[in-house]
Amino acid sequence: MKFVDEFRDPEMAKNALDRIHALVKEIPKAQQQPLQIMEVCGGHTHSIFRYGLEELLPKEIELVHGPGCPVCVLPMGRVDDCVAIAEQPDVIFTTFGDAMRVPGSKKSLQDAKAAGCDVRMVYSPMDALNIARQHPDKRVVFFGLGFETTMPSTALTIKQAEKEGIENFYLFCNHVTIIPTIKAILDSPDMYIDGFLGPGHVSMVIGEAPYRFIAASYQRPLIIAGFEPLDVLQSLVMLLEQLRDGKAEIENQYKRIVPDGGNHAALKAVGEIFELREFFEWRGLGSIDHSGVQIKAAYARFDAEREFALPNVNIADPKSCQCGEVLKGVIKPWQCKVFGKQCTPETPLGALMVSTEGACSAYYSYGKINHQQLDR
C-alpha cells in the first residue's frame, strides 16, 4: 500500500529507534526522571501499541496518553441521550461502530439495539443521510462524534441534506475541539508535560497556527505527527532534538498530509454549520469552556437536541473509575483501582476501556507485557 508500507519499514524503524536511544542520552533532564511526552491523539496511542513501539523506546521516555479519543471523552449522560433518541419508535439511530459499546448509565447503544432499537453502524455520515433518503417515514439521527477531523464531513452532510431538502435527518452533535483541551491540560496543576505529539489528522483541517500558543506561552514543543510507526518515531526524534536543544517550536512531521494552513474548504463548511458552545462536559475532565460545537440557528431544524426531548442529565462517572486521572496523565492506566478487575474490555466501566484508542484498552490488549502484573 503506497504511503503506508514505506512508513512501516522495519529497517528504517530500527535506525530511528537507535537515534532516539542516542538522543535521550544527550538530554540531561531525562537522566533524572523520564521525559513526559503526551501523544494528544488516540490514533497515536493505537499505533504505539499496535506496533509494539512502547517497549522499544528507552526508559527515559514516558508516554502520556492524552484525551484525543472522542469516544473516550464522551460523558455518560451523552450516551444516555443517544439511547433515549434511539428508543423513539420512529427513529433510526446511526453511529460509527466505535460508539456502540460505550457504557451509558443504564445501557450502551449496543444494548439498546439488542433491546429492539433500530441502531445502525455507518462508515460515513453520508451513509446515514442515504438511510434518511431511503426511509422517509423515519427520523434518521446521526451521532456526530469527533474532533476537527470529523467535523467537516458532518458539516458537509448537513449542507447536502439542506440542499436536497431532506426533512427527516438530524445530527446529534457531540463534536469537540482540541485546542481548549490541550490548554486545559497545560493549565492543570497536577501534571507536567515536556512535549507533545500533535494530532496529524486534526491538523490537516486546522493547520499549524492554532498550536502556536503552546510554544509561545507555555514553552513546550509540539510535533504534528503522522500515524504510521515511522511517523511516530520520526516525530519523537524531532521532539527530542528540540528538547536537547532547549527549543520549544511547532514542527510538522506530517507534511505529506498536513498543509501549513489546514484545509480552507473544510474550515469553511465547519464555520457555516457549527458554532462554539459555551462549554462542553468531558468524561473525567469535567466541563471545558468552548470545547464543543453546536449547530447554528440557521440549521436548527437538523439539530437532534432541538428535535428530541433529551434527558440531558449530568451523570457522574462511577466512583471507582479514574478515567479523568488517566486522561490527564496523572496516573497510568494500570494504576487505576479497577483496571483489569471490574474494568475490562468485556465489562468496561470507563470509555477508555472501550475504544481501541482508549489508553486503558490499549494497555489491556497491547500493553507492554511486563507492565501487566495482572492475573487474567
Partner: protein
Amino acid sequence: MTTPKRTLKATHITMAHGAGGKAMRDLIEDVFVGSFDNSHLNALEDQARIDLAELQRDGNRIAFTTDGYVVDPIEFLGGNIGALAVNGTVNDLAVSGAIPKYLSCSMILEEGLEVAQLRRIVDSMRAAADAAGVAIVTGDTKVVPKGKGDKIFISTTGIGVIPEGIEISASRVKPGDKVIVNGWVGDHGAAILNARGDLALDVELHTDCQPLHELMQVMLKACPDLHAVRDASRGGVATVVNEFAETSGVAIRLYENAVPVRTEVRGVCEILGLDALYFANEGKLVAVVPAADADAVLAAMQAHPAGKEAAIIGEAYEGVAGRVVVQTGFGGERILDMLVGEQLPRIC
C-alpha cells in the same frame, strides 16, 4: 413409492411449505430429495439408517459435529450459505483427522424466500457434498413467518470416522511446536463485509470456502502426529490460536509479517480499522505440528491446491499459559487476545 414424484410449482416459500402437508411434501421431494438424491434420504423415513460395519472399515471412532449457518447475504462471490453449510461441517470433521461420511441438514426458511434461490443453494450443497465425498442423508425443513427469520438458516450435522491412532486435540500443543496456516487469511470475512453492502465498499473478493478433508489426509501422511488442528472459521485465526494456547496451557507467538493476507483484505482492514486475524475463514485451518515435522507438513500442504499459500506463522513456547502475542516487524510484541465483543468498524 407408489405415487409419482411431486413437483414444487410455487415461486416463493409460504407458511404452507412448513406445515407438514402437501406443499411441504412438494418442497421436500422436489427440491431437497431431488437434489441430494441418495437411498437413505429417498426412503423418506424419519431417520437415516447406517450400517455400523461399514463405518468400522475406516476407523474406530465416530466424529460428530454440528454448526449453524446464518450468513447475510446468503449468496456472495465464490459461494453461498449452502456451500458453507456443507464445507463447514465437513471441515469440522476433517480437522479431527476424520473421514467425513454423512451429513444431516436442518433448514429454517423465512416465508417469502424465492424458490429459485433456494434451489441454487441446495444445488451448491449437493455439489459441495459430492466434492467432499459425503451424502446428505436426513433433513428437516421449517418455515417461519416473514420477519421472524432471515431468508434461510441451515444447521448441518456431520458424522465422520477417525482412523485408529490419530489423536488431534487442542490440548496437545507443546512448546516448540510450529503453527501453520494453509493460506490467505480473512478472505471470507472481508468478502462478506463487502457483499453485505452496508459500508458501500466494492472489492473483488471471493470467499475461501473449500473442503479441507483431502488436505488433512495429505498432512497426516506427512506427519501422523499432528498435535492440534482447527479450522479458523468464526473468530478467525486469532481465536483458534488463543483456544490452543489456553487449552494446552502454553504461550504462542505469531509472526505478523508471516501471516498471508491479500492486498484487498488489508485494504478492507485499513479502511475500517479491523484486524484480519479475527476475520472468519471458511477454508482455512490452523495446524500445530512438532517442529521437526513442520517443513515436511508445509511442503505437503503447498503441494495440495487447498494449501498452496500455506505458511508457518508462529510457534508455541513456554510462557504465560494461554497468552498469544504477535511479533511486529520491528521486533515489538503485542498481545493478541480473544475477540472482545464483535469487531466493529471504527473511525478512530
